[in-house]
Amino acid sequence: MPDLGSLLIQLFSGLSRAMMLFLLSSGLSLIFGVMNILNFAHATLWLLAAYLTYTFFQIFSGLWGSEALVLVNSIVMATGIMFLLGMAIERFLVRRMYPRELPEQLLLTFALILIFSDTIKLFWGVENRRIVLPIEPMEVMGSFVNPYFFVIIAAGCGIALGLRFFLQRTRYGKIVRAAVFSRDMVSALGIRIPAVYAGVFGLGVGLAALTAGIFLPIMPLSLGIDMDLIVQCFAVVVIGGFGSIGGTFIASLIVGIVYSYSILFWPDGALAIIFLILVGVLIWRPWGLLGTEMRY
């Protein structure tokens, strides 16, 4: 039996993993809720954003040294670029797919995975990349914890609250929520639906980019890590219920924490347990934990 300290470390790492899953899945869920497009390429765009942030960090830290502020700066720039890229993808590619059937939509985003992951290989090569921030480990109950976990958990909760505030309280958030229910009605009220769509896609991709930047200091980048992540995000979205941000949050906590503890006991089978949960939830409640039966 592992000691209390390592259990605690797993808790922190599980929570921070949950934050990553939540931020990615909420973008996925938002895009699906508004446009009915399941974006297979979401995690690949996340990886692209991580590499972009890495490059910005390399450039700026050469000028000003490896400081936290330099990282923030790089994250903001990469997020901005990815937001614009997301809007462009919606405008020029995804928009053509709205009248089509589900498999064709999936195929388009599948093609984007191939294109973007190869683009990453083209520009950044196959070797692993990581950035090093000067962080001292912190002692908690006899074990050493990377204090950056707390930064991640705080940032994740902050972004989640910000997203909630945006969706519930602001004018644009209300438009997005209305578009989930009835596009035609929103359009009839004189709101330009194409602009909303592009904005939501950009927002989802931007969220993914933000997540990538925040996780960069504890995450070595390598090709192909997006493929595992995207199916886990699907698992989170399905377990939580399509279109339910609250459900997505709970599901990410479940998946993140279960994953990090099963790594302690059965390292190779940790993901098998996640998919066992997914299969179980789909059989028991196909609409997810907090989803409404209506969409089923």
Partner: protein, 353 residues
């Protein structure tokens, strides 16, 4: 045949076209083409051809679920993998007990893959057919990934990430050409069976489920049972393709169970044409042959195929065969327009007089 002016549009091609649609002539052309592949110089075309056939059969079995039943499965690779692993493990068993694999052991391990794939697809299908649309896709994805990680992590039984190596078939099938013709025979037999199934009342029931499930249910069709039967048939044929895979590659590895592998079946089907029996095989030719030859010139194969898929999805949504189908139909009807202009009677399809 008729001696009227319409005969210039007659001939085996248009006869078969009018009777069987595009898939009839396409199947004949594909079959003749496959027969002649070993005449090409070098071993490379034979190896590519074998892969085209095996993956094509896998895509054909997937299309039973997608093109005919209207559901999309992202876990179909699991049954391909089940078939492949069943054959591989039996291979190892025979090799260890008998010191080598004989013809009996070879065929037995191929054939025993079928009931295992059927059983696996029955268990998965039992749950999947309760759902439709995106939920069907997600549940099949979940089961597929579950199986993938089980195979991946159960090292003592499946050798995990290393895969199972050294699957050397008996001497006769070690020759690439003979194994190619053996594969061709199995694939042709399977395709004939699939064709029988899709043209049977059962096949038309599937099309009805695709177009309108509720109406089918009102007519007294047991929707879930039909879907489950079809799921098991599709899974079994995927198992056939998987069984052929191990002796061809001389090894199996767990990645063949993953969702990216299932995704390949999806885009082969869509590139070729989901509403044609021959569509997935055409897609397999485009994908696999391109893969084999493009990777010789560039390492950026995913970028190439990604752009090809993008172009297909946006500009040729029905797949390659639908474009050809439209061209043929246009030319056949253009011929008739000319006859009408000349004042000659138009003969009905299939000749007359």
């Amino acid at each position: 045949m008729s001696s009227s002016g319409a005969t210039h549009k007659s001939g085996w091609f248009s006869d078969l076209y009018q009777k069987r649609g595009l898939s009839g002539p396409a199947a004949v052309i594909l079959f003749l083409g496959f027969l002649l592949v070993p005449l090409l110089p070098g071993k490379f075309p034979i190896i590519v051809g074998t892969e085209v056939l095996i993956v094509g059969l896998f895509a054909l079995s997937f299309n039973l679920i997608y093109g005919y039943m209207g559901q999309i499965s992202f876990g179909h690779g699991a049954f391909f993998g089940l078939g492949a692993y069943a054959t591989a493990l039996l291979f190892r068993y025979f090799q260890m007990t008998a010191g080598g694999i004989g013809y009996f052991g070879f065929f037995l391990s191929l054939i025993l893959a079928l009931p295992l794939a059927a059983l696996g697809s029955w268990v998965v299908g039992f749950f999947c057919v309760r759902l439709t649309g995106i939920y069907f896709a997600m549940l099949s994805l979940g089961f597929g990934e579950l199986l993938f990680y089980l195979v991946f992590s159960w090292y003592s039984f499946t050798k995990g990430d290393d895969g199972i190596q050294g699957l050397l078939p008996p001497p006769f099938f070690q020759d690439a050409t003979y194994y190619y013709y053996f594969t061709l025979a199995v694939v042709v037999l399977s395709t004939l069976l699939l064709w029988r199934i899709t043209e049977s009342p059962f096949g038309y029931t599937l099309r009805m489920l695709r177009d309108n499930r509720n109406r089918a249910a009102f007519l007294g069709i047991n929707v879930r049972r039909v879907m489950l039967t079809n799921f098991v048939i599709a899974g079994t044929f995927a198992g056939v393709a998987g069984a052929l895979w191990g002796p061809f590659q001389r090894s199996v590895s767990p990645h063949i169970l993953g969702w990216a592998e299932s995704g390949k079946a999806v885009f082969m089907t869509l590139i070729g044409g989901a509403y044609y029996l021959a569509g997935p095989m055409v897609g397999s030719i485009i994908y696999t042959a391109l893969n084999a030859y493009v990777t010789r010139f560039t390492v950026f194969w995913p970028l190439t195929i990604g752009i090809i898929i993008l172009v297909f999805v946006i500009f040729i949504p029905g797949g390659l065969l639908s474009v050809i189908d439209q061209r043929i139909r246009f030319r056949l009807s253009a011929g008739k327009v000319e006859e009408i202009r000349k004042g000659e009677p138009v003969s009905p399809p299939g000749g007359g007089a």
